[in-house]
Symmetry: C2
Subunit: 146 residues, 2 copies
DNA sequence: ATTTTAATGAGAATAATTCGCATTTGTGCT
DNA sequence: AGCACAAATGCGAATTATTCTCATTAAAAT
């Protein structure tokens, strides 16, 4: 059985080349937000003769067809993720580099409200929280009594 | 009388060269969010022999000393502004390119709340609204009866 | 005025991404 | 199965914002 991305490529009228299958597989198996370089490493582990040009070209095509999304976390390069879920925002762990996803309805409302004040409609937005783990105590989610 | 930036350079122990004075002047007079290239054009109009290296180096130093701030609005290059006011967020007009600044207390509260849910403290954030002017009617601010 | 030390200019270097083009490969049709 | 053609690939060169190197110059301190 083929993955979501392959099906979507078909729907979008894209040729299913071996390279694309490899890239699609890597992307759909990723649980993180890999950069082009990280993707390239994972790809060459499967198909050592895939080229970086092809990877970049494919990433672009997949983004144009809304199959994936790219993000810029200010590192000087992009990170990618499959666009399965609804759009969401990101919290970047400054210590580990981990990326957490969230979607808060208040935030959606608030951004529209703010834009309206200026006489605008929001087309898209970018919300990123750069944060460090709370050290003093446990997080709210897993609190233990001290 | 010298501008804010020159004073701050002094305080930071930076030499006040002619080039720095020029760059400081341009920056303090800017009401927009100029890119390095735009700044370079404005600088060379005053001092044609200033070099791009110097501009970039100075921008970096000024940012390191918190005298200016740089932003990445996803255009592939940075934009700069004097760090006089409190930190704020930006609404980017997708039609004209204009940048509006805002600061909403609810947003500040909300971001801390969201981070806490994950067990984090927010160190810094990035909130950008990319928007288009409301076409159908006037903006809330300047409504006229139709 | 002299010394010290940081800043400048010019161009080379970097790094992520894109492009040009000759070659290859899916895909649809017969 | 075999063909034709558009689309995709791979290689290396090009692009672009920014940084670096290093010899020269200028500000600041003595």
């Amino acid at each position: 059985m083929e993955n979501q991305i392959e099906q979507k490529c078909r729907d979008a009228g894209l040729k299913l080349t071996g390279q694309r299958r490899t890239i699609a597989k890597i992307l759909s198996e990723a649980t993180d937000h890999p950069s082009a370089n990280e993707l390239f490493e994972r790809c060459t582990a499967i198909d050592p003769k895939i080229s970086l040009s092809t990877l970049y070209r494919t990433l672009r095509v997949l983004e144009e067809t809304q199959i994936i999304r790219s993000h810029d976390f200010g590192e000087g390069y992009a990170r990618f993720e499959v666009a399965t879920k609804d759009p969401h925002d990101h919290l970047i762990d400054l210590v580990s580099g981990d990326v957490h996803e969230f979607n808060h309805p208040d935030l959606e409302r608030l951004k529209q409200f703010i834009a309206k004040e200026f006489g605008y409609d929001v087309v898209r937005h970018r919300v990123e929280l750069y944060a460090i783990p709370i050290k003093s105590s446990q997080s709210k989610r897993r609190r233990i009594r001290s």
